[in-house]
């Protein structure tokens, strides 16, 4: 019997799907940066406010946090055999990632509705 949420195959697949999305997004973001003629405060906000970019960034954030969760989870399970230590470490990691997700999505939302 496996503990709920700690199975192997589904995270393994999600790790790879998110990796591909992250890699493709990074190429897109890098290209946008290269093709931009200047990097200013107004230009930056305008770029983030474009719906397509806004949603792509939101998905990027979710993909990164999901990817990080699986990766750090694997590291914790590799090096911390103690159950209490695992629960503590994973809770802390989850808290940091969920907090970052809400914060990042809020920042994206505020720009989108401005």
């Amino acid at each position: 019997m496996s503990a709920p949420g700690l199975q192997g195959l589904r995270p393994w697949i999600m790790q790879r799907i998110s990796a591909v999305y992250i890699a493709l997004s990074l190429i897109y973001f890098a290209l946008c940066l290269l093709l931009a003629d200047s990097f200013s405060a107004s230009g930056w906000v305008t770029w983030v406010a474009i719906p397509y970019n806004n949603i792509a960034l939101g998905l990027f954030l979710v993909a990164v946090l999901w990817h990080a969760w699986i990766g750090v989870r694997d590291v914790v399970l590799d090096y911390l055999p103690n159950v209490m230590a695992r629960i503590l470490a994973l809770s802390l990691v989850g808290l940091v990632l969920l907090g970052s997700a809400l914060w990042g999505l809020k920042a994206l939302f505020m720009v989108a509705i401005k």
Binding site: L61, V64, G71, V75, W103, A107
Partner: protein, 127 residues
């Protein structure tokens, strides 16, 4: 403890000769952890940079600090190593480059590529 167990036991890192493929793998994990630690700070800077021109300048000033430049370089390397080593692992999943000769060559390629892109990005930022 069993008395007969007299195998040599040492974890002297200088005596462990990791093959280049092992280095790619080990550094993939290290860089991943560094990137994870950077997430909340990156989100903070992202949010700050979107707070009009004042916030944008504040974020730019934070990033201009010498300590932050050094950390930024470390994180840029982490990102590039994690990306290239990750692509190599994805190809491994697809059974591409499994022979020892190919695996060693692709491991070296990861290091060469990340170094080239790192230099290009840093040069691009400085220009």
């Amino acid at each position: 403890m069993a008395v007969s167990d007299n195998r040599p036991f040492f974890l002297n890192l200088l005596k462990i000769h990791l093959p280049v493929t092992g280095f790619v793998s080990f550094l993939h994990r290290i860089s991943g952890l560094l990137l994870f630690i950077a997430i909340p700070f990156s989100v903070y800077l992202f949010d700050l940079s979107l707070q009009g021109s004042t916030g944008f300048d504040q974020a730019a000033n934070i990033l201009a600090h010498p300590v932050m430049q050094l950390l930024g370089l470390l994180l840029l390397w982490s990102l590039l190593h994690h990306l290239f080593a990750g692509i190599r692992f994805l190809l491994t999943d697809l059974d591409i480059g499994l022979s020892k000769a190919h695996a060693v060559r692709s491991a070296w390629l990861v290091f060469v590529l990340e170094l080239i892109v790192l230099v290009l990005v840093v040069a691009g930022i400085k220009l």
